[in-house]
Amino acid sequence: MNDVKKYLREWAMPHVLCPGCAHGIVLRSFLEAVDQLQLAQDQVAMVAGIGCSSRLAGYADFCTLHGTHGRAPAFATGLKLARPELDVVVVTGDGDGLAIGGNHLIHAARRNIDITVLLLNNSIYGMTGGQVAPTSPEGTVASTTPSGNTEPPFDPCQLLLGAGASYVARVLAATPTEMTKVMADAILHPGFAFIEVVADCPEYFGRYNKAGGGAEMLTQLAGRDTGVAVQLADKRFVNHIPSSETAPGLQTGVLRRETRPVFSGVRGGGDHGA
């Protein structure tokens, strides 16, 4: 393992995230990916909106931009057009990216601008106090749905596939090496790359829905992995997974990778992934 602490703003640590919150694992995997690709720290730009997930940009020692709620893809679009040499990475959450900023996200995908979006899906609004989110499964108890959520949730990957993203992947926060691999792949992808990282929220989702703490939620998450690589299948970690009746399987891995003209702001100026 590489020492990724050199990419951290150590003076800002420990971070504000709750005990057991997987967002820190996601940040670590992202830093590992940057380390694998040997990107210079001033070559990476992390753009974030508002929310627990968006806090991650504050702890990474890259060029970082903390914008307004839901508008991270819009900021990132501007940044990439002005400074095309940067590797622009958007860190957003399910509430930030799919509810408040859903519009910006799908249009960035439609344009195929060369940015990478990490959407940390913890199925709830964590920072604002546990309100129901567009990705909360039906029946989710949240502070705004005390008797259970009655609305069907989004599948973020299906949404982005429909919006025309040229790279769509889903990874689990419980499988960090897989996460690192997909993130490195997505950063290298020419065009819009979208990664849904399925994470946990032990403090609100776990507490309201009696899903346990971080360890239990991650264990359950690892058991839902039906994708290409089950990293930890032979570990104790996933041995005692309850049946998947309550938690349906999640298709993980790269769901789409295609090459199409990349948006550069100039008519006919798009390159074809060269």
Binding site: G20, A22, I25, L218, L232, K235, R236
Partner: protein
């Protein structure tokens, strides 16, 4: 002056064949012409207790119970039982102890980390008491012979030298008492036990293949929030969160360097270093 009555204590845990071994010893001694009395406590193993058998022999035996500090030899089928019963052995007596360890549920103080209060295997514990210690790896010897359940016969073989009776009586007793069809393998195990008794047994278990020494676990307590993910994922149970919520390394000797805890720590609080590197002391 009649010959002094001698004693032998057999100790083990349920299922190891302590009772059968006691019957074989008693039978062999009877065959050799001794007066023998035997007593045992059994049925306790399921409650976390031990199984033991006392045997006394001589010209005329009055009580079946071996008084403390008077046994010629203690035959322990399990390491912790050897320690439990060692006070029954007279000064200058002998201990034959199997290296096998069977950790009882009661010794597990923490079912999450499996940290136990089980004693370490250390022959010096007997040397301090001026006892002759014969450590046998009976389970391995028996496995080599083809039936791990004959480990008791290996131990009897190691014990036989201290009872002062002819080998014929031992073999006759074994043949008449062991389950039908296992006479040959039990006799082979007994003879193997007679020989391995003198052998010096390596005490430390061999490390797993490819294990080049434990990796070093460094915890940054100022960053750790005690979320307990690391201790749950560690396949070797190296880490545990205590009641105050502080993460501790409880089993530093077995870290294989799989990095699962490091990768899954949301707080960047764990660093795993290869065996050779120097580690800065963890921040308190």
């Amino acid at each position: 002056m009649p010959e002094q009555t001698k004693g032998l204590v057999l100790a083990g845990v349920g299922g190891q064949g302590v009772i059968l071994a006691g019957m074989i010893v008693a039978d062999a001694l009877v065959r050799a012409g001794h007066d023998v009395k035997q007593s045992e406590v059994h049925g306790m193993a399921q409650r976390g207790g031990s199984v033991f058998s006392h045997i006394r022999w001589g010209q005329s035996v009055d009580s079946p119970l071996v008084p403390e500090a008077s046994a010629e030899v203690l035959a322990a089928f399990e390491w912790a039982e050897a320690l439990r019963w060692v006070s029954y052995v007279r000064e200058g007596g002998a201990v034959v102890a199997d290296l096998r360890t069977i950790v009882p549920p009661g010794a597990c103080r923490n079912t999450r980390s499996w940290a136990t209060t089980y004693p370490g295997v250390d022959p010096d514990l007997f040397v301090d008491r001026r006892l002759t210690a014969h450590l046998v790896d009976a389970a391995s010897t028996a496995t080599e012979l083809g039936n791990v359940r004959t480990a008791g016969s290996v131990i009897l073989g190691a014990v036989s030298r201290f009872c002062g009776i002819d080998q014929i009586h031992w073999e006759a007793a074994i043949e008449s008492l062991v389950p039908r069809g296992t006479e040959e393998v039990n006799l082979a195990a007994f003879r193997a036990g007679c020989e391995v008794g003198e052998a010096t047994i390596p005490v430390a278990p061999a490390p797993p293949e490819g294990f080049s020494g434990p990796h070093q676990i460094e915890i940054d307590h100022t960053w750790c929030k005690g979320c307990d993910i690391c201790s749950r994922v560690c396949p070797e149970y190296c880490l545990a969160v205590d009641l105050r919520g502080q993460l501790n390394v409880v089993n530093a000797d077995v870290c294989t360097g799989c990095h699962l805890c490091e990768l899954l720590c949301p707080d960047f609080a764990i660093s795993i270093h290869p065996p050779s590197t120097e580690v800065v002391t963890a921040v308190d």
